[in-house]
Amino acid sequence: MAVGTPGSAPASGALRVAIIGNPNTGKTTLFNALTGLRQRVGNFAGVTVERVEGGFQMPDGRRITVVDLPGAYSLAATSPDERIALDVLRGHDGREPRPDVVLVVVDATHLGRNLFLASQVCELGLPVVVALNQVDAAAARGITVDVPALIHELGVPIVPTVASRGEGLDPLRRALVAAATLPAPTPRFALDESAETTAARYGWITDVIARTVRQRASASGSASDRIDAIALHRLGGPILFLVVMALVFQAVFSWATPVQDAIESGVLGVGHAIGQLVPEGDLRSLVVDGVFAGVGSVLVFLPQIALLFAFISVLEQSGYMARAAFLMDRLMRRVGLNGKSFIPMLSGYACAVPGIMATRTIEDPKDRLATILVVPLMSCSARLPVYTLLIGAFVPAMPLLPGLDLQGATMLAMYLLGTVAALGVAALFRRTLLRGPVRPMILELPPYRWPSPRSIAIIVWQRSVLFLRRAGTVILALSIVLWALATFPRTPVAPDAPPAVAQETQLANSALGRFGRAIEPAVAPLGYDWKIGVSILASFAAREVFVSTMGTIYGVGDAGESALADALRAERRPDGTAAYTPLIAVSLMVFYVFALMCMSTIAVTVREAGGGRIGWRWAAIQFAYMLALAYGAAWLVLVVGRAMGLG
């Protein structure tokens, strides 16, 4: 299966440059600086897991194509992401010839380790340019590299750079163009990775380092080590992790509310104003009840989504991801995986698609498959609108602890429920279909870094645009379709009937209403009415559609124009009791914790689980177990809740 961005056929004369290097050295930062693109950057190994192509133009008009690649520790690929990088380097990619020049990015603060791959790449017979990156961080740690001496030792051009500040780019561009005509360096060692060759190569590197690198003796341990003394503490570490998570979810819930309220009244206001311009009738109903009530009800969650991505981005850029993996290793081993699998799971809090992609860093195929199967259980940003709507409508903001109220705690509980279930299901797979020994963890812990406000802003911007685009396409289209289904066919109603009753009768007899009542038996055991049933069904297109569908149904069925949360609270059964109780809200949230309702996730599972028949089989297993879990758990919540006398 092809991976990554499909590369355009190289324009004749364009120089092809491939970027390679150890993980987390700044390859993507450099790629972004060279090409002006905005690929994801983060402070942990394995951020980039596919090839990405970009380009730039030299002052003389010459085009250079640059390919950013996943990181690798050596030429012997052990994980799928490393294989992608090395296939491009060796010309086994199948789509393109070998690159004209290899740009090896080395981290000046860890030169001893980085020179291993660099020296191997120098022996592949391709022209090489080395970017000595992060010289700023090296200087801060008292490390100075004698660049001319290092050029002499390696026999290739070396350009010092600070990719994060765009320093050294011009000399680097010139070196890349010039290198294409240089002879490839001569090999020093065999390219195998036997114990002897590795030791010999490292022996040579040790000598080179001794001749070219000077390190001022540092007085005390580094700041990173001091932070780790707390962050990785046996007891303090897990507590810190939980506190961080609790604060994040509380913040997502409460900080976003003022902006959310502003958007909500804005949407209602604009809908109302436009409604006045359109003559009374179906068109006005389409605009106000269909489009504004549907799309608008989802749009109001933009602030939450933006905040969630800002927090995840801080976690990714600070270096905490690897620490979380370290902390979780203990628990993950009981499950049959190791801590490394927790990094894709954490990415799943943002979105399952990059989370599943991130499993490419896992070496063992069974470990990887088990991780793929459970990543969608981690609550992603698309669940946020559902949780927020239901919590906002049915859970009181009762203070629990300083900085945490019942709403935030409920949100945290949903995320924890998904996480715990992911661990449980992984354990089940590792003991049945994917049996195998636990693989020990080898994980690099990068130094902590201050997240850059600019890259956080970029991530938040990109994800917000994506969210708005979804609202403007899938959700808009479905809102219109559902509005039509909820409006037609028309039922004649007695002219003297009160408007609320007339509209309710209309809705109940519409195509959607009839369909809803036909499927109602399927959701009735969970205590849901047909409106929820229809919304659940529609949300298999995308989870947010649950909210927009409820918005449309209540837009059409409601005489007044109130916020969706108020409409839900006010809904009554024929016997006059509340249709939606807090218990039903919790059961519904639990359903959404577990159900897999995302086309993109299914598609990426098919591809990453092996493609073709095998891929489809795993995707079907994933979909089926998640649906069963969702239904079973939602039912259990209802039954136990009722037995306890709640709702």
Partner: protein, 89 residues
């Protein structure tokens, strides 16, 4: 298993898990599954490398040429090092 001769600071070989926190150790043998051994070597834990244990938890936190590596305990069992500082018993 004492192989050294210095009286105050005996030199001995032991698994990496047992080497003293903070003390430098030289890797003498790696007996792990092949793919793990390969991975360890290219990441700087090769026969002859100098490493030091920073912290021992459910996994080992090891300094390898200035990088911090987390190693599962069973890997650290399989890595034999030559180190000073553990009194010969």
């Amino acid at each position: 298993m004492t192989t050294g001769s210095s009286r105050e600071l005996p030199v001995c070989t032991c698994p990496l898990v047992d080497s003293a926190t903070g003390a430098e150790a030289t890797v003498v043998a790696i007996a792990c599954a092949d793919r793990d051994a390969c991975r360890l070597r290219v990441m700087g834990v090769y026969e002859g490398a100098t490493v030091s244990v920073i912290d021992k938890k459910h996994c080992l936190l090891v300094d390898v040429r200035g990088t911090r590596l987390a190693l599962g305990a069973e890997l650290a069992e399989g890595i034999t090092v030559l180190t000073r500082g553990i009194p010969a018993s």
